[in-house]
Symmetry: D4
Subunit: 249 residues, 8 copies
């Protein structure tokens, strides 16, 4: 422990083993973060319950499995996003208790079952094609210790279907809304709830959707004031932000 190292320094000075000058010099050459750590720590303490996260895309199955195994030793929850079936299989051969979430393309290991969230997080998605992104948000929020509910397929062109499912998200403490194409859903949902809405543009759409740009711009320009936005297809980010809000005491 860092404080211990510093304390040792002071004790050596006290015991006359080091002069104050030598101690100052030693202190300046100690790794910076050892001192900073004390301060950072308070922050990290807040992060208890945060899963360790692996972004799997572009990594070999062996690589994913190895990192997963190492992180699993810390006894926190572990989450690997953008993971393939092959990465999962390799990981399971080392960490048998992992689960695979096919739609969300996530591998999870649940070791900490405590609920950190104070309320429920609702994940609302516009079309069936948005579901993978929504599921990534959902799995992220769950593994971070939240109660989550997913409201499917309630696009704005069928507004009565959205209204009919309103109860599912008006009772939530935070709402995540995933939508591609014109990205209009967060505005409508934002107008129906009195809580923060995290909007996730998806890359779903044709032609002039420009891989999610249309949805992204739509969400940034939302006429509902309680909407903030994360990156295109970033279900993980939305789940993370929502969890952070939901665990506020």
């Amino acid at each position: 422990m860092n404080s211990d190292q510093i304390k040792k320094l002071f004790q050596q000075v006290k015991q006359g083993k080091l002069s104050p000058d030598e101690a100052v010099q030693k202190l300046q050459h100690m790794p910076f973060e050892d001192l900073g750590f004390a301060k950072v720590d308070h922050h990290r303490a807040v992060r208890v319950g945060m899963p360790e996260v692996i972004f799997s895309q572009g990594k070999t199955p062996t690589h994913v499995a190895a990192i997963f195994e190492r992180l699993a030793l810390k006894k926190t929850n572990v989450l690997a996003t953008r993971a393939t079936v092959m990465q999962f299989e390799e990981t399971r051969s080392r960490v048998p208790k992992v689960e695979y979430h096919e739609l969300a393309r996530c591998i999870t290991l649940r070791q900490d079952k405590k609920k950190y969230g104070k309320g429920r997080i609702a994940v609302v998605s516009a079309g069936t094609s948005d579901i993978p992104v929504a599921e990534e948000a959902l799995v992220t929020a769950e593994i971070m210790g939240n109660d989550v509910e997913h409201v499917y397929d309630v696009g704005v062109a069928g507004i009565h279907r959205l209204l009919a499912n309103r109860d599912s998200f008006t009772k939530a403490r935070v709402v995540i809304v995933c939508a591609g194409m014109e990205g209009a859903l967060p505005s409508v949902v934002g107008g129906l709830v009195g809580v923060p809405v995290i909007a996730v543009p998806t890359s779903i759409g044709y032609g002039a959707s420009f891989q999610g740009l249309a949805a992204l711009l739509g969400m940034l320009n939302s006429c509902a004031s309680n909407v903030s936005v994360v990156n295109i297809d970033n279900g993980f980010g939305a789940g993370y932000v929502a969890s952070m809000i939901n665990r506020l005491p």
Copy 2:
């Protein structure tokens, strides 16, 4: 008249004043459109009731007034869009019966009071800032002989207000929807009606609206299939397209 000119040619041949060869040569040097015109004419016949239109922006008051006066002689309705008060004053000094529509920035002269539209055109606008564009659509549709109704201030973030005014547009034969910011309104309206929706993105918005680009992309990617789109702030175009649809027999 063109047919007459051609007939004359045939008569001259008949009378031996021209040889067939000379006639062919003459025909080939007659202005092209004189022949084509006959065909085009059928199309122009359809256009009866269309107002003559002046785009006033960048023109001097004198220039606008002069064109207006000349067009007024045809006894059709006349419309000047993007017109200033000064352009209006100058025009009125020459054509006393003109009217000025301040919000729409239009000058109109109503000389043909026939209703060409078969049903009603509804103009729905999202925010108060979209009203000038909506009014331009409305004035255009009216001067083209349509019954028009304007539903104000029914943005998607207050969906109950839109639903409460639903009767105003569900009974229309064509619906024009003007919206800036995220441009989501046409999708919601499109899902509520069974008629064509003409979407007009407006340049209203801050920052990442990029002068209407966000709304334009949103509308082009509408998840409602009955939506087609005109240019940013093009209220006139929307009114014109809607009129053309509404007068279909």
Copy 3:
């Protein structure tokens, strides 16, 4: 059934089991959509003759076939867009009467042969590469109960060819124009007809066409006032909008 639930409420009041005040309160807590549905229905009634539509891209053959089979039970026409031959084969094994439109990449099932369109829809396409999009528009319009005619390969750089085929689209009630590259065709066609023109930019082109962006911008800026635009390559949307216009009474 919802109406039954409400009826029950009235019966309980009638029988004195509930006071009017209690009934009002109960009513306010019943699910919203149950009442709303009645109104929405009127709108849906308008939609009779609309085919049920499946967007096949990214779905497994089994998935497409299963949805198709279920929708076919409603006895309306069924349309699957962006469908592969394999998706078609699987679908045909369950619904033998389906047809495959190779160019349009569509599967159709015709169960309702009524003509809903009042006139003819013309589909005009600029180059041979635009034909798949044009055919998607054509198949969509046909399955929605319209007479449709396709005018091929009449790009603006060979204007006499377009003019020679003018009769094909000047008699139509609605015109769909598909073009890639500079997207100029809708402007020329729009100037030749007195009916609404639906422009479809296609992603055909090289270099600075930027996957249809050039054509899209060209069409939005059309100098012909009777043109409105749908998304890039969205033949289905154009066919749908045109059908909606063509069935206006």
Copy 4:
């Protein structure tokens, strides 16, 4: 009143003037929103403490003052954003207790002094040019009943200055970060705190900042997972979202 209308219906059934069947039918033709309103209300209840907001840009001083006066009658706090000195003067002539926040370009009226926020909101800004946007966020958060602290001029190119001021924002419950140019500050702050960070790109920058686009993209791509983003220069939106998070019980 709507509930009254429904109550009347029940009373008529009770009195035998209407059969339950007739009442159901009548009910289905009553305006939709009258019922829906009740539910929406629950949501509005949540919004207690939200100030009424006027977007002043483009409005005449008289117009702003008139709206302000009317909203002031509700005894909630009132906020006018993007307001000029002239709009303020006119408003003060009608509502003497208003205050003007010059940097934030806001007019406020404080009638409800209750603290709705559970903790403190920190507003961190990168450069002196970002202060107007930061102040808009700050004024918004204050008028919505929050304790707010502003940490000025702690751009990432002078990281020790940011670290030296770390205590100011590590103790906050929500952090708003305003930055133009490369928009890097939210990533650094996000890595130092364990609470949600709302990033506001500002239009400050030269050349290739493209009026805030560079900062916007930077923030959307933040490598800190607890960051979500609002529109360029949208200090109000950030203050609003932060308030909503801070009042979560």
Copy 5:
């Protein structure tokens, strides 16, 4: 022939077989282009020596071969651009005399050996990666009857190499310049010659070249006034424009 058809009409009138009125009516129903053709013809006469062109990309070998065979019958030169080896093999099996230009990805058939160009066309290319585009321009210009010279690998970062090869292009009547990356070469060449320069941006480049956009913008903004630009990678277009200039009498 059309003129003959019209002459016949006049003769029938002369012979009293048709009245002038009947003739006018008949004339109006004759295909439009038959009349127009006479005028268009003068234009087509100019086009003598233009090869028939097939854009092969996306076509099956059989399709390319079939079109090629048909066009070859006209005894003009034939050019197929963007052609694969397989398309060439299939074409050769039907038209044995065709040649394949591997770098240019072109199939040609030379049946008309006349020189139509008045001078020489120089094709200058910046880097080795630009050669395929340059060769497409070269093959196009050759098959259209021009003397062509290709100056390779004279990018602006090695200006002495360009200057050393100056004689090759300063004597040309038209210069085509192909360059990717920053697209600076046309400006330098344009300053060294007193003839028209056709600039072809290529899609060669990394990262921020954005598939030729950087080169395209560079060329459009050339500080040399004698430069005009064609589409990205459009070697064919450059060869065609240059040929048209070079054959001016």
Copy 6:
């Protein structure tokens, strides 16, 4: 003169005043261009008849007048583009024979009346708003010694008007086409003529024309192969390129 300087060097060697080694060293320190100039000269000879050109935008009237006066001494024609009336007045006070072209915003001085062009240049413009750009092209081409004709207001949405004026440009040796909005006119004109077409996109248009971007992209993607493009609103450049083509022997 440079050759003289070099000759002198050789004479000094011949006379024994310099050793060959000394001469080589001297030669290497002589200004580079003195040698290069001889080669460049041939190129400049071609440029005879080119006017000296001043880009006036952003210069003071005094500055423009001073440059103009100096250039006028060379007895060539002089052209100042983007010139204001004030710049003209100041210039006229020094060079009385200058003329001002109001629409084209150009000042010209005609001192060399020789015709350098071999044929006629046609300038075709789509709308009345494109006329300033077209006139700049026209004035440029005239001052460079060409016969020029301007065909006004023949946009593609009124194709018969364009066809009726076809003779004006089908006889030209080069055609300049100016168009804003969708920029479709060059494609249509390009298909009607057998000579090079220089396309000039103008910044005319609303909303999604994005200051000429739509027209620019349209022209770059022209389906007519004889079209090349210059920068947005660059009438001068088009006139220059056309002149260069027209003077080819």
Copy 7:
């Protein structure tokens, strides 16, 4: 001094005035940067000779003058960029020795005349319109203690002029190249020198230059490997980077 404070801590421990535990706690509450500062200091030492810089745009003359006066007290050089004449006048009234550089729009105060640069910095600019940006670079480099030379008006379309002035920049230790329009100059200069080239795109250009975007992309894609790029119109940045390179021992 910080090290002293820490030393004091150790001495107090040595003297028994503090226990090691108390010292650790005290250390953790000392301002973070006090420790970090020691390390940062080495870095700041390097910065000796760097002028204090004020970005004047958007500041009042009084504000600029006040900051300037305060910074002048440090006896380093002071630089205010983007300064107006009024800001200069106000500053001079407080700090009489300041100079104004009109073209560069800079105010400077020279208090430290030491040469920090090891060699010469050449500033090369393409057109006369690029001079303000080039002058800003030049003034920045000079006030930072460098010998600077400015080579004017050597655009790539007149390559012999650039070559004739080659000596001016081939002897430099760093070269700054400013160019608008196509931004080609850095590539040519980069190929002629064996030292680092800092490229500054300027916003000079018309139409498709898009306020410097064309030049920026051109420079980023430079085919010369010794080129790196700063922001559009950022003459100050280029001068700063060049100075930093030039003072490397």
Copy 8:
């Protein structure tokens, strides 16, 4: 040798074998660069130690190997970038001493072991995904004769890790910083060092990173004044620029 050829000319004049006039004429027809070369040479002399570089992408293994073999004969170092294992294998079969750098995708041959760099170059990278680009910079700098150190995985969201590794880059003479996503790292590093920073945006990121555009814009807008930027993923360019700076005497 060129000087020899010129000397010969002078000697022939001296010996009366050529008249001065004949000599001048001969000189003018000698290849341009032969004279220019003398001047260029000085520049090339500076380049000693620069490796010969092959850009391998898109070349066949045989092609890469052949060029590599030929360049190896010059006894300088040789570098092939963007090389595959297969290209390496083929090259090694001809030049056995080559090495392959897997992460950097480079083949190198070290024949010149001299240190040309005066100090150390630090390569700092933000995330593990940026390592290939960073390694390309590192290998380039090494083969050009520099001491290089790579600091891995010090992204801005974990600022204490960056600070802890500060010694690695604060002692460097030039720092290269590679980062994707928001591209914020160069700003932070730039603020910590007093030497030039070369920023390399990488194409790493999701959604709105737009293949490195976000990072590129971020770096161009860096608030640290000592940062200049190279193209996206251009590790080679950064290594080259850094080497050029580091070898400045």
